[in-house]
């Protein structure tokens, strides 16, 4: 059931419905994560070819929400702005988890460094979910990626970039690389800033610290 939320949506409000003994939690989570990855590969490899694009987008979001649940991450997300047509989401980068936090809230196409494509499983999944891979340091490749981003934005899709180009600690921002923002400028389409903020706290009911991540969307 969805909690009554004004501007925040909360996924997986009940992260630990069953209290497991401490020594079992880690193996159970790792086991579930493995199963979830297998399910993800099955979806992307065998189910996606049968589905229409909207259903694929839906599966990607639902899979990401479940991933957060498996990992015990409680995500609180402000409602994504209801913009007509395409938009460029610009976000800080804290960890690989950001990608699934954003997917849980909104279907976007990420722009990622080309090395990620070579990562086992994750790289293939990223490819299957429509990630654009950019070879950093090659100027000509920026032009190619910009053209692909323009095509997506013009078709009404959202594209997401991490313009810091690398992960930060979540407390401060590094310098933004401007080249990936160009397609939004050319198409005059909205830029949606988002922030991934990780919060840790302990309460009397939760013996172990839980991770909560907030991504906030606002207006430029």
């Amino acid at each position: 059931m969805r909690p009554a939320a004004s501007s925040f949506e909360s996924y997986n409000a009940r992260v630990n419905p069953v209290r497991l003994p401490v020594f079992l939690r880690r193996p159970v989570r790792i086991g579930l994560l493995g199963l979830h990855l297998v399910w993800g590969v099955t979806l992307a490899g065998l189910v996606f070819p049968l589905l229409g694009p909207a259903q694929r987008d839906r599966r990607i979001m639902a899979w990401s929400r479940r991933l957060l649940r498996v990992l015990g991450v409680q995500a609180r997300t402000s409602a994504a702005p209801g913009l007509p047509g395409g938009a460029l989401l610009v976000c800080n980068h804290v960890s690989w988890l950001d990608i699934y936090l954003i997917y849980a809230a909104r279907r976007v196409h990420f722009v990622s460094k080309a090395e990620v494509r070579q990562w086992p499983v994750a790289g293939w999944l990223a490819h299957k979910t429509g990630t654009l891979f950019i070879e950093r340091g090659r100027r000509a490749d920026t032009a190619r990626i910009n053209a692909e981003m323009r095509a997506l934005l013009a078709s009404g899709a959202w594209v997401a970039v991490f313009p810091e180009g690398t992960t930060g600690d979540g407390r401060s921002l590094k310098r933004f690389m401007p080249s990936l923002l160009q397609p939004a400028v050319e198409l005059n389409c909205p830029i949606v800033p988002a922030a991934c903020v990780t919060a840790r706290w302990t309460t009397t009911t939760a013996p172990r610290p839980r991770t909560s991540t907030t991504s906030a969307c606002g207006k430029v």
């Binding site: 501007s7 229409g52 987008d57 639902a62 929400r65 009404g156 005059n188 909205p190 606002g218 430029v220």
Partner: protein
């Protein structure tokens, strides 16, 4: 080049927010609203496996548009969209239970079907339906579908006279060209039901025709919902843009 679009509403404006259902819980929310409207309010006979839910075999294949009231997070409006890829997997469009769609064969690869439209009784001011149409317009452009079809239902509590009158009025001004005509499987005998009076057009059908939708022939009788169903068709290329801008938020 750099003129900032300040007119774009970035925060969800007003009371409502439209989105596509993502997980099964959200689809359940839509099914509960549908049950509330179709079974409890309109008295449709629904054979559902889960009490309080309107569920049918098309649901798992469909995309469900939801309008939520922001204050309480409750789903207050929904549309069900069956995209062409899903229709291929199921084997048919929902309307094919009532109409023979053979003539629409060449439209099928890019034809999405709309159905199960409903709005919570406490939210029928028109802005929820505008939100749904906004979501639908974005969906159609995003995924590149070219035609919308769907059954528009007219209640038959009066025995069908209103339905026959609505059909006659629509046939005069909004009849699709002959190549898009379809044949109802259980035809409503309109000529014997029409008493010549002009009944008011249901608001939803009026809205559709304003946007450029046409009817594809005579109505079919749906005994489960006790409605007369007209197949309506809207090619996105013929969408009345100025009207759409006015009606859709």
């Amino acid at each position: 080049m750099l003129d900032i679009r300040t007119t774009v509403q970035a925060t969800p404006a007003g009371r409502y927010h439209v989105s596509l259902a993502v997980d099964d819980n959200e689809i359940r929310e839509a099914q509960r609203l549908r049950y509330k409207v179709f079974a409890e309010e309109l008295g449709a006979r629904l054979s559902s496996v889960l009490p309080g839910h309107d569920i049918d075999m098309y649901d798992p294949f469909c995309d469900h548009l939801l309008v939520r009231e922001l204050a309480r997070g409750e789903v207050v409006g929904t549309y069900r969209i069956l995209p062409p890829e899903a229709a291929r997997r199921v084997g048919s469009y929902y309307s094919e239970q009532e109409f023979d769609l053979t003539r629409l064969g060449f439209l099928r690869p890019r034809m999405a079907e709309l159905g199960r439209s409903c709005v919570h009784p406490a939210h029928r001011g028109g802005s929820v339906i505008a939100r749904l149409w906004r979501g639908l317009a974005d969906y159609m452009t995003r995924y590149g579908y070219e035609t919308i079809v769907g059954c528009a239902s007219i209640g038959m509590a009066d025995g069908g006279h209103i339905a026959a009158s609505v059909h006659r009025q629509l046939a005069e001004r909004h009849l699709a060209p002959i190549e898009w005509h379809v044949t109802p499987r259980t035809r409503l005998p309109v000529e014997s039901l029409d008493d010549g009076r002009n009944a008011a057009l249901p608001p939803l059908i009026k809205g559709y025709t304003r946007l450029g939708a046409m009817i594809c022939g005579e109505p079919a009788w749906d005994p489960d919902f006790n409605t007369a169903d007209l197949l309506m068709l809207l090619p996105m290329a013929q969408l009345n843009r100025s009207e759409a801008r006015r009606l859709i938020v």
